[in-house]
Symmetry: C2
Subunit: 214 residues, 2 copies
C-alpha cells in the first residue's frame, strides 16, 4: 500500500508518518519509483505500536526510539531492557520538579532503611527513588504525617505483580517476547494506576456514600 493508505488505515496524518520515516522509527518501504514506496502489514503494526506507546503509554518519541532499539538489538541483555523500560516509565511521569525540600536527606535515609527492611536490592539511582523521596519530604513540609511502613503490604503486592510479569518472557527471549516486555511494562503501569483509583473509589463509597457523579 502507499503512504496515503497507511494514513487512512491508521488515522495518522501523512506528515506524521513521514516524520517517523525520516526519524527511523518506521523502517523504509520498498521503493517503487522516485519518491514512491510500497508499505506492508509490518508498517501498519509498527504505527499501531508507536501510537499505543505514545498515547495510552504516555511516552515521548525519544523513549519510544530507545525502547524499540533495545528490543531489536538482541545483544542487549534483559537486565538492560528492563532498565530501559523502568527509565522510560519514570521519565513519562517526571514533571518539572520543585527545589529540593530541606528535609530530603533525612527522607532518603528513611527510604534506604525501608528498602533494606523489604530486602530489596535497588541502587541509589533506581527509577522511582527520587520522586518517592520528594513526595515524602513534601508531605512533611506541608504538615502531613507519613509513615512509610504503612506501605509495606502494598510494596509486597507490587513485587508479586512484577514477579508474575517476569515469569512470562523465556530466558532466551526473541524479538516478539522482548517487545512484549516493553509493551506490557509501559501499559501495565497505566492499568495498575487505574485499578488503584478504582480501589480508592470503592473504599470512599463504602464509607462516605456515592458521590453525585456516581
Amino acid at each position: 500500500m502507499r503512504i496515503s493508505d497507511l494514513s487512512r488505515k491508521t488515522g495518522l496524518p501523512v506528515s506524521t508518518i513521514k516524520f517517523y520515516l525520516r526519524d527511523g522509527l518506521l523502517p523504509p518501504g520498498e521503493p517503487t519509483g522516485r519518491n514512491q514506496a510500497r508499505y506492508g502489514e509490518s508498517h501498519l503494526r509498527r504505527l499501531g505500536l508507536i501510537r499505543a506507546l505514545t498515547t495510552v503509554g504516555r511516552l515521548d518519541l525519544t523513549s519510544v526510539r530507545t525502547l524499540l532499539l533495545a528490543v531489536e538489538d538482541e545483544q542487549v541483555p534483559l537486565a538492560e531492557l528492563y532498565d530501559a523500560v523502568h527509565r522510560a516509565v519514570a521519565h513519562a511521569h517526571a514533571h518539572a520538579l520543585p527545589a529540593k525540600p530541606e528535609n530530603i536527606d533525612q527522607v532518603h535515609t528513611e527510604i534506604d532503611r525501608f528498602i533494606a527492611r523489604l530486602g530489596w536490592k535497588v541502587g541509589p539511582d533506581a527509577p522511582g527513588r527520587e520522586p518517592l523521596a520528594l513526595v515524602l519530604a513534601t508531605l512533611r513540609d506541608l504538615g502531613c504525617e507519613c509513615d512509610i511502613d504503612a506501605f509495606t503490604p502494598y510494596a509486597h503486592a507490587a513485587r508479586r505483580i512484577a514477579a508474575q510479569e517476569m515469569d512470562r518472557p523465556p530466558a532466551n527471549a526473541g524479538e516478539a517476547d522482548r517487545l512484549g516486555v516493553v509493551v506490557r511494562g509501559v501499559l501495565l503501569e497505566v492499568a495498575l494506576t487505574s485499578l488503584r483509583l478504582m480501589a480508592e473509589r470503592h473504599e470512599a463509597i463504602q464509607r462516605f456514600g456515592v458521590p453525585t457523579r456516581g
Copy 2:
C-alpha cells in the same frame, strides 16, 4: 511582608504570584496603600501548597482550584471531596487518547465482571475505568495476552492502602483534615507509582542481574 518577599522566600516569580492573586488561588493581602499589600505566613503556606500540588502532584491549576474550593467549603461532604480528588488524579494522568479500539466493549464487560468478583461498587463513570479498558484493549490489539484476574492480589493491596488512608480523617473533618485528604490523595498516587517501579526494579535485578546504570 511584601509581594517581593513572598517571591524571594518561595522562589516563585512575582508575575506568577500576581496571577494566583487575580485568579483567587491566593487570597488577597492586607492593603497598605495604593497597589500595595502586606502578606503573612498563611500566604507562604498557600504558595507552598499550590506548588506541591502542581509540581510533585502534577495537577493543573483548574484541578487545584476545584480541590481547594472543595476543602474550604465545609458543606461539601467527604464523598464529594474524595470524588474531586479521584477526578483530579485521573485527569492529571489522562493524555490525548487514541481512537477507541474495536474490542473495547468486550473489555468493558470483562472489567465489569472483574469488579463484581472483587465485590467493588464503582459506577460505569468511575475515574480509572476508561483508561484501564483502553490499556487492556490495546494490549490485545498488539497481540499481548492479558488476564485481568492476575491483578486480583494487587487490587486487594490497593484497597488496603485506601482503607488505611481513609481511617485518618475524623467523620466531622475540619478544614485541616480535609486539606490532608487532598494533599495525601494527590501525592500518594505519585509515591505508590514510584514504589511499584522500585519493586519491578528489584525483581528484574534478582532475575537478570544489575544493569549497567545500577
